[in-house]
Amino acid sequence: MLDIEISQFDDEVVVRLFGEVASGTAAKFEAALQSLLERGHRSLILDLAQLEFINGAGLQMIIDCAGRCGIMGGSLTVRSPSLKLRRLLAIAGAGSLIRVEHSEAVAARLGPEQPPGQPGFSHRSTKGAPTPSEQFPMGLPADRRLVDSALRLVVTLATATVGGADGVSVSLRRHGVLSTVAASDDTISEMDADQYATGEGPCVDASIQGRWFHAEALSSETRWPDFTPRARGLGINAILSSPLVAQNKPVGALNIYSRSEGAFAPDDQELASVFAHQASNILTSACAGASSAEVAVRFASALRGREIVAQAQGVLMERFRLDEATAFSTLLRSSVWTDETMRQLAEGIVRSTVSVRAAGAPLLGGDSHG
């Protein structure tokens, strides 16, 4: 169950969430945000003190909404998030996209706020790593904080999406020195640092050679004799490093770590390369002076759309006992017939999972197009 209470004080709108943002209620949350944005509100406060649970889709909606508020010249403030959510938001770039306000009790326990760009829990994970104010790869004059926060967003999304991933990081070479720009936790930062220290490992090789390195099982790995025992000592047993390329030159790597041997199935490997490609796009657009924040927001929106389409496919598969391909072609044909985009249709279908029980609404087609 999810209850949403909206109140307005001057220009600021406070959205209070009670209950859970989960698969059955996420659409309601999105609709509420959407309607506020459409009405021109651009300074929103999300009060999460009474929120019991939020899923990945909900998190994505918050990030998406923050991006849209930012583009409209406003901002999104998250009030009283849980520690876990605060961490996720921190990795995703809370420093630049989302403001975090703690309840008074939490604020007292936390002490002074972290400096910008070093949000939340990351005080240890940045040990030996560059701060966002240091140079951008190859000394390029881009907005480094935006680039770093966009890369943190990629790390968050990859951690949540790639099966088998227990941790993800992005390494970038800056003036010949590899360092970690974004990491999902301290162990992962340490793992990267071990590779920089020994001068070997999949991350180092992918960054230099510009191609993939996949260590399926560290127990039988022979390529990196100094690094491998250190990684196993930290509980890591499989690594997938994909090269990051900016302006056709290898500049770093997207590293995915797992505690389980053979953790990365072919689909996960493909998805990893998709994320590496996206991180490369962000770096290339930063090099070219394009707005990496825009790229990040557009990517977040595409990822959200993808998730909705997948959810709708799942609903069709379950309702009509279809296989995946048939569910997709059903969506595709409906989209052609109705001239609605597949995302609009999918949103209607996902919404119908709530309303169909209440009102017997039709599964396909929603409320438009005869």
């Binding site: 689909d267 493909e270 998709v274 557009r298 759309g305 496919q313 052609v336």
Partner: protein, 86 residues
């Protein structure tokens, strides 16, 4: 002589005024699993698309054409002669 299908797809892309990057995002949004490089290879005819992948690309393009006021000009895999880049 029939032109390879893949270059037809790339012509549609140009007609739809989409960059490779923008088409990839739209394709990714619909669930496409190929990277941008692979998508470009498919468009250039260097890589064969599965019928499913072809449909995802075709639909991403068609949604763009609908935005521009058009219909669905890009044929889907089951509409014949489009299943690969022979």
């Amino acid at each position: 002589m029939a032109e390879p299908v893949a270059s037809v797809l790339d012509r549609f892309r140009m007609e739809a005024d989409l960059t490779h990057g923008e088409l990839w995002l739209r394709y990714f949004e619909l669930g496409g699993m190929s990277t941008g490089f692979e998508l470009e290879a498919i468009l250039y005819g260097a890589l064969a698309a599965s019928p499913h992948d072809h449909d995802v690309i075709a639909h991403a393009l068609n949604e763009r054409f609908v935005e521009l006021g058009g219909n669905h000009p890009v044929p889907y895999a089951d509409e014949g002669n489009v299943s690969s880049n022979e």
